[in-house]
Amino acid sequence: MTQSVVVQVGQCGNQVGCRFWDLALREHAHVNKRGLYDEALSSFFRNVDSSTQNAGHSDGGVNSKGCFIAVAVLVDMEEGVVNQILQGPLREVFDSTQLLTDVSGSGNNWAVGNMTYGSAYREKIVDKLRKAAEQCDCLQCFFLIHSMGGGTGSGLGTRVLSLLEEEFPEVCRIITSIYPSAEDDVITSPYNSVLAMNKLTEHADCVLLVENQSLVDIVNKIKIMSHGTKPGLIIKRNSTVTSGQGGLSGAEKPFDAMNNIVANLLLNITSSARFEGSLNMDLNEIAMNLVPFPRLHYLVPSLTPLYTLADINVPTRRLDQMFSDAFSKDHQLIQADPKHSLYLACALMVRGNVQVSDVRRNIERLRPSLPFVSWNQEGWKTSLCSVPPVGHSHSLLALANNTCVKPTFMELRERFTKLYRKKAHLHHYLHVEGMEQSFFSEAIASLNSLIEEYHHLDATKARLMPDAPRLSIAR
């Protein structure tokens, strides 16, 4: 069994990460009723109870004796969120050597996160990453969780990404990036996002795109489905999407539901690596199958069931409906229109009691409505994991590499240009040591060329592409 290290950077990264650990523990508790340290657990937890392999299960939690430590590194330049985690029920899962905090924050400034803190804490970060890696028997993947809009997540997060590439060039880097809404309250978020994207494009193997706005929409829809009344009254307390139980202490926070959705994404993407299945998908197969060109590694995730995650009384949908849902806009974690763009490749990661023949039937059914690039008409990767998410019979995570991300990037470019044309707020960045204006022009050039690459592929869509002339053999 291989292991993965989760690196959570910044406020958002740590909040999402915290939800992930909570849900992961709960999922393992559900599957592994005796609370023994098993192969599946070993992919994200290490056992510190060396005397026996038994962690006990007396009060209902897998980790009731605190024997499992998350294989994670938590980085934030403020103390708030990390302290909250340490005071909450999840404190048992981490030990202090995994944490790195400062007190003053990055002030929503990419340059402060990336340059100032990046240089100051470089050694410490590398040290913690190495320690985490050393605990792994066979390290396969780093999961980095961060947001794009602020200072720490975007700035220091992408610095950590470069460090990962330097230190562990052979280990796969899968990044979960949460993009800010258009009406973000951080005025410099377009700068931060574009500067961060430059690094993502250069150093990541895969980026899972998540937009804040989509999460807000999904959560709102869940609320509407529960008849607009207080969600807590109707949505079951323990439902995977809303519950804050076991995570942050105290009452539910407004972001918890949103963060849970992202945590579910991570839970599903790793399920095939953690549990058995008739068609396993290793984490290193994700990039191999979904990334045809090194820079075009931005993936659109969609999750089903999503609304029923809340366990509100939505009738269970048929299996085939689940596959259709995965290709509807309501279930995507970014706002985009893949059906009217071009698929480069698509992975279907199925969990639960689903047969190969079900997957093949649904692919055949959906294929005609989905435009695929001419050279990858059969660009499907499938995996079957036999363990479904808690409380469900089956689930599906679709990861699409689709040119539909282009409008999102163009919109970001527009917001960047609006500020940059007037050199607004630029001085905040330029007075940071090590930061130069050329970084801005480089970053925007990188984004431009990325958009251009997607555009080129889009352009092939309308045309009927002839097969490439084959090599001819002299006879």
């Binding site: 979904l290 045809p292 060109f293 050279w375 990767k381 090599l471 006879r475």
Partner: protein, 443 residues
């Protein structure tokens, strides 16, 4: 003489386990001492306690499948794998042929070679080696190719047969056509013969002939194993003078792979039906052979939907191309008949010269093996292994799709990362285009 089997990757290890299971249960069925002894000597060695241990190695880059195959074998109670005849790592090859061939293969060369040597030394005489793998993923295809190369280096004069499972046309792996092209092009230089099963064909056999509703991978593998077993079990051959042949791989290769440009073997077995129907069916040799012959010339790999209109072309019209005509020209065929009254069976017109190329007489091109012992519960069964144009179309599709992708240079960076360059791709494409061209000009 004995055969050592090397099972590589998820597919190879699953199919191999089914194969040994069928061979063992078939050999132990009923009272036929000589057959049983010959089969066991070929595929198993015995421990001091008389237990059968497969002459096989299990190699994979991740442990899950090997563990499962070993425990399934042990659970059968009839045979098992050798306790230390397996090699696995923790992390798979990630669907990347280059990772398997350039990284995992060389890294574990010594360990794997040591296992092979040990197994070969257990044989009184080595008839040859079989390497079983799929071509779609990373380990079977990449590590499999590398290991085949090592086998060729250590045993330059032994027969090496590769059994390949070709993926579904719409696949489980997006880069399967690249992996397949690289595997086939390399194996063509190393292997004596390449025996191919297509998942799509076998899937159809499962659904249409065996009437299986929810087809799982083990159903598919069992069909493959049945067909393979019907070739590999002991039989009386032209050279064996009334005793069971001692060198199955050598005779197979010399019967079918008479020219280094033509190494692709396809096969079909009839009858195949749900086990509940077998008891209610009767077969006659002329009937079976009539079907088999038409399956051969119309290139139908299962006994349903056979096109009875296809006829061998008249003497004058012997020029065909890839696009033209649905008649399937053979270079060589091996017919294996097993079961009741087998000595009275004729060749069913499969030795008709009109079926073969003009440059090889049908006497050289056609071979017949027989065994009076019924195989795997079928009273009579006939298997045809064929070096013909049957695989031309799927090979051409595979190369065409891979070439289209290559024209956009999609996914190439993933291979370059592990040391396979665009040049290497081009070499592989060139050699397979050569194979396609040779087979399409067969007449």
């Amino acid at each position: 003489m004995s055969v050592v089997t090397v099972q590589l990757g998820q597919c190879g290890n699953q199919v191999g386990q089914e194969l040994f299971d069928i061979i063992c249960s078939d050999a132990q069925e009923g009272q036929r001492k000589t057959y049983s002894v010959a089969s066991c000597e070929r595929f198993f060695h015995q421990t001091a306690h008389g237990d059968l241990v497969a002459r096989a190695l299990l190699i994979d880059m991740e442990p899950k499948v090997i563990n499962r195959s070993m425990s399934m074998a042990a659970k059968s109670g009839r045979w098992s794998y050798g306790e230390s005849s397996h090699f696995s790592q923790k992390q798979g090859s990630g669907n990347n042929w280059a990772n398997g061939y350039c990284v995992h293969g060389p890294r574990h060369r010594d360990a794997v070679e040591e296992l092979v040597r040990r197994e070969v030394e257990r044989c009184d005489r080595l008839a040859g080696l079989i390497a079983m793998m799929s071509v779609a993923g990373g380990t079977g295809s990449g590590v499999g190719t590398y290991v085949t190369q090592c086998l060729r280096d250590i045993y330059p004069s032994s027969f090496i047969l590769n059994h390949l499972t070709w993926p579904y046309g719409t696949g489980e792996v997006i880069v399967q056509n690249y992996n397949s092209v690289l595997t086939l092009a390399h194996l063509y230089q190393l292997s004596d013969a390449i025996l191919v099963h297509e998942n799509d064909t076998v899937h159809r056999i499962c659904s249409q002939l065996l009437n299986i509703k929810h087809i799982s991978f083990s159903d598919v593998n069992r069909v493959i194993a049945h067909q393979l077993g019907s070739i590999l079990q002991p039989a009386l051959t032209a050279d064996s003078h009334g005793a069971y042949s001692r060198n199955p791989l050598g005779e197979l290769v010399s019967a079918l792979a008479c020219h280094p440009e033509y190494k692709l073997l396809s096969m079909c077995t009839i009858p195949q039906m749900a086990s509940s129907s077998i008891a209610y069916s009767t077969f006659s040799w002329p009937g079976l052979l009539k079907h088999l012959r038409q399956m051969l010339i119309s290139n139908t790999k299962m006994e349903e939907g056979i096109d009875w209109q296809v006829r061998p072309p008249a003497e004058s019209g012997r020029s065909r191309s890839l696009a033209g005509g649905s008649f399937n020209t053979s270079l060589a065929n091996l017919l294996i008949l097993r079961g009741k009254d087998v000595y009275s069976a004729e060749t069913g017109g499969i030795d008709d010269p009109a079926l073969y190329t003009s440059w090889l007489s049908s006497k050289e091109a056609f071979s017949l093996w027989k065994s009076p012992v019924p195989f795997n519960k079928y009273e009579k069964s006939a298997t045809l292994v064929s070096n013909s144009q049957a695989l031309l179309r799927p090979l051409d599709d595979m190369v065409g799709k891979a070439w289209n992708m290559f024209a956009s240079r999609a996914y190439i960076h993933q291979y370059i990362k592990f040391g396979i360059s665009e040049e290497d791709f081009l070499d592989s494409f060139t050699s397979l285009e050569q194979v396609i061209s040779s087979y399409s000009q067969l007449c």
